[in-house]
Amino acid sequence: MFNQSQLDAIDAAIHTHLISAGLDHVIFMDMAGNTIANHNNGKTMLDSTAFAALAAGNFAAVDAMAKLVGESEFSLLFHKGEKSSIHFSKVNNETLLITMFNKDISLGLVRLKVAETIQRINSILASDK
């Protein structure tokens, strides 16, 4: 369970690193499909509850496939669409960070910003136990 100051700091990190950088929607969630933090730029319409359940299933299925081919994990996934794309990244063994972004933003920038955010979230979780 996350405490209030951890959740505040995670929300701030998502805003500073991701929403401010122009990403449309960000969900920080656990591997069971529960949403921990949910942020958007105010322009997106998304059923985030169902989305998180499907995202957890998707990530878990790919993780199981990784094991079958002898990889310990595939720590990130990327789905490219015509207008918007989705990037999945593992934060730690229990949580995932999902970002949605439009075609105006490059995948390279997203990966950089996601990496910064994950580092920040992990330091929040480590320092505030």
């Binding site: 369970m1 996350f2 405490n3 209030q4 959740l7 505040d8 929300d11 656990d30 591997m31 069971a32 499909g33 529960n34 949403t35 921990i36 059923d47 509850t49 169902a50 359940a53 499907l54 957890a56 299933g57 878990a60 299925a61 199981a64």
Partner: protein, 201 residues
């Protein structure tokens, strides 16, 4: 484990309907979806094959009000029942808080019920969970078949087969017509919430 968010004052609880293939797990969720449509904000998500068998899971979230100032959302999942999908069944069980086992009363399904329950025990072990300690409700589905020519196993025998050691609350049900679907749901919600209540302070 239920996700308790102290900032948004939300609790998310995961309940999984488990059991052998074609036993009525999805039918339970479809009935609940129909009955509580006005309380369910989203569409039911079903990942199924072309011939309507569950491929990964069905998902249905709904709100049950507040406990100690926290908004409680129940997330119902089913697993795919077919034998070959055990890897996916195991994935769906991750983070489970409560389980409904939907057994099929048809005589020819007797062995499959037992095998499925044994596999549930093993699958939970992979998450360090013990079937004997998790909130659990048993449902004997398709009981209306006793009025037809299809041979069924009596509930007493099913109790011995499946529930002799577990001694979980059990319901005879007809999921297709909604018989005892809601009492099963209410029971699993109440015992699951009771089990997590200690975590809310």
């Amino acid at each position: 484990m239920a996700l308790i968010n102290v900032k948004t004052k939300e609790v998310q609880v995961k309940i999984v309907y488990y059991g052998p293939g074609r036993g009525g797990k999805t039918t339970n969720l479809e009935y609940i979806n129909k009955t509580y449509r006005d309380r369910i904000k989203t569409e039911m998500v079903s990942l199924k094959t072309q011939d309507d068998r569950t491929l990964f899971f069905d998902f249905l979230p709904f709100d049950v009000g507040q406990i100690k100032g926290f908004d409680v959302t129940i997330q119902l999942y089913t697993v795919p029942g077919q034998v070959k999908y055990n890897a996916t069944r195991r994935l769906v069980l991750r983070g489970v808080d409560g389980i409904v086992f939907v057994a099929d009363v048809q005589k020819e399904q007797r062995k499959k019920n037992i095998e499925s329950l044994n596999q549930l025990y093993e699958n939970l072990e992979t998450y360090n969970l013990d079937l004997f300690n998790i909130p659990f409700v048993m449902q004997y589905n398709k009981i209306d078949l006793k009025q037809s020519a299809i041979p069924i196993v009596s509930s007493q025998t099913l109790q011995k087969d499946l529930n002799g050691l577990l001694r979980a609350p059990a319901f005879e049900a007809t999921a297709l017509r909604g018989g005892n679907v809601i009492p099963t749901l209410k029971k699993i919600i109440s015992i699951t919430l009771a089990s997590i209540q200690d975590q809310l302070f």
